[in-house]
């Protein structure tokens, strides 16, 4: 018997809808679970005091500092490189074998799993360059990891700037670089910042690449050459070694709130940017 098309459509709609809402529900459950169990643990003292007894008691302050410093170092290196690459690809060359190779490199880099970055960072920065487990090793490894994101979002943002803007600038006698610097980049800024913030979110949550390059020392770092433990590494160790499920939930809640906030801001910025040019 043939199923009438209208019925088939209704069935499909219900099935697809159920799948979608299941997905959204699972994701919201995960966030909700972590926040409900974790937020009661949070306090000023939890955030700003040192951990005691391997994290069984006390707060998470050094790991909070680690989670700020490591992504900051990563961005200091990745942002200029990423924006420079995107400007070169969009404003300074035509599509050619070179641009294809650069894009291929960035796409491949984006697909490499974080554990491979961790292995590389361990052998290259920590061992060959003799930097040891430290903030700088971890930050440089993260920089390589987020570079493709920054390149891609910056490229998109630059392409969204209408060509007429450049023509006006050229017609006023500005050189190419002046046009890029004074006209293109300022107009693409919200889009570029979105990419930077997305990268920030990714580096805050990263664990595998960080644990083998920045180490897991719980002491407060005093220079970029000190080992540090980030919140995500701390959370992993607390949860996996069963040290303290209460503090694990607390750390997870801070981590999730930070990432949600960062991604929320970037989403909002992207929205503003899209509105402006469409």
């Amino acid at each position: 018997m043939r199923i009438p098309p209208r019925v088939a459509q209704t069935v499909a709609r219900v099935v697809l809808g159920a799948a979608t809402f299941f997905t959204v529900a699972v994701l919201i459950f995960i966030i909700g679970h972590v926040l409900v169990k974790g937020i009661p643990v949070l306090s000023f003292r939890f955030l700003f005091s040192n951990p005691e007894d391997m994290g069984r008691a006390g707060g998470i302050f050094p790991t909070l500092v680690g989670s700020v410093l490591l992504p900051a170092v990563a961005l200091v290196f990745a942002v200029p490189l990423g924006i420079g690459t995107a400007v070169f690809l969009t404003e300074y060359t035509r599509e050619s074998k070179i641009t294809a190779a650069i894009r291929f490199g960035a796409d491949c880099l984006a697909g490499i799993p974080s554990i491979i970055f961790g292995l590389f960072g361990f052998i290259f920065f920590v061992t060959v360059l003799r930097m040891g487990w430290c903030i700088l090793s971890g930050g440089l490894t993260l920089a390589m990891m987020v570079l493709p994101t920054i390149i891609r979002t910056t490229e998109e943002a630059i392409r969204a700037v209408p060509y007429a803007y450049r023509e006006v600038s050229f017609s006023l006698g500005a050189t190419r670089w002046r046009t890029v610097w004074r006209v293109v980049l300022p107009n693409a800024l919200p889009g570029i910042v979105t990419g930077i913030i997305l990268s920030l979110g990714r580096s805050i949550g990263e664990t595998a690449a960080v644990i083998f390059t920045a180490g897991s020392s719980l002491r407060m770092p005093s220079s970029l050459f000190d080992s540090v433990r980030t919140m995500s590494v701390h959370f992993y160790i607390l949860a996996r070694e069963g040290i303290s499920s209460e503090n694990a939930y607390g750390t997870a809640a801070v981590l999730v709130l930070a990432v949600l906030m960062v991604n929320g801001i970037s989403y909002w910025l992207m929205h503003q940017f899209m509105k402006r040019f469409s």
């Binding site: 088939a8 959204v24 292995l119 590389f120 949550g205 959370f235 996996r240 989403y267």
Partner: protein, 284 residues
Amino acid sequence: MSQKSETVVYYVLQFIALSAMGSLLLIALFILKEGFPFILEEGPSKFLFSSTWEPAKEHFGIFPMLVGSVWVTFGALVVGGPLGVAGAIYLVEFTPKGLMRIIKPVIELLAGIPSVVYGFMGVAVLAPLIRTYIGGPGLSVLAASLILGIMILPTVMSISMDALNSVPPSYKEGSLALGATRWQTQYMVVLKAAKSGILASIILGMGRAIGETMAVIMVAGNAVKIPNSVLDSVRTLTANIALEMGYATGRHRQALFATGVVLFLVIMMLNSFAMWSLKERRKK
């Protein structure tokens, strides 16, 4: 003067633009340099297909981990593939605009949840449920597949949505004008036109599942043996590296890098295939 500085800017930017390519080459070079000689020394077939992994006795066979990665990745695709594609179709075709404005940001925000948090959910919520209601130790192929399946959803969904959105509206209009329902149009016209993009989304999801480390370590149980059922504990390639890297030295460490080489090559193959598939679509 300004002409000269323009030339300088050009070369500086060109140099910077090589950074991504350079990073990739550097990574490939160092991972291969550390791991590849070991594979040759040990013999590729012995390394890949021997089932004994006992670093203390100098037995380095990664076959159980290879099988583990395949099981877990396949499981993740079974869970995440259909759900992700279904979600993409529903969001693109059947969701009212207002609802879309809520659901899309939610999915994108959730794509950023750190993998350790997913892993922890697996340990704290999922594994006990499996242990109680289905059996086995809880930490298992099943738990890892479910968690990874959820983790790849945002990837599969967002790339599938792009693929569906980029099908020319005229295809759809033509089909609707012939009297097809929206669902008939979706699965007879739009899905066919977006096939390569959807394939790419699944392959990229697969790459993410194979490469995922922390979440898998937490939920898969990590026993070095070939699983007999989905309720058995497994260890993946990534878990093998991450679990033992902390204390490995000498040949043991080389063996872990060799595991990394295998992982790296598999991922590069998958990603090249996905990129090729996306490019084919653009050409059309």
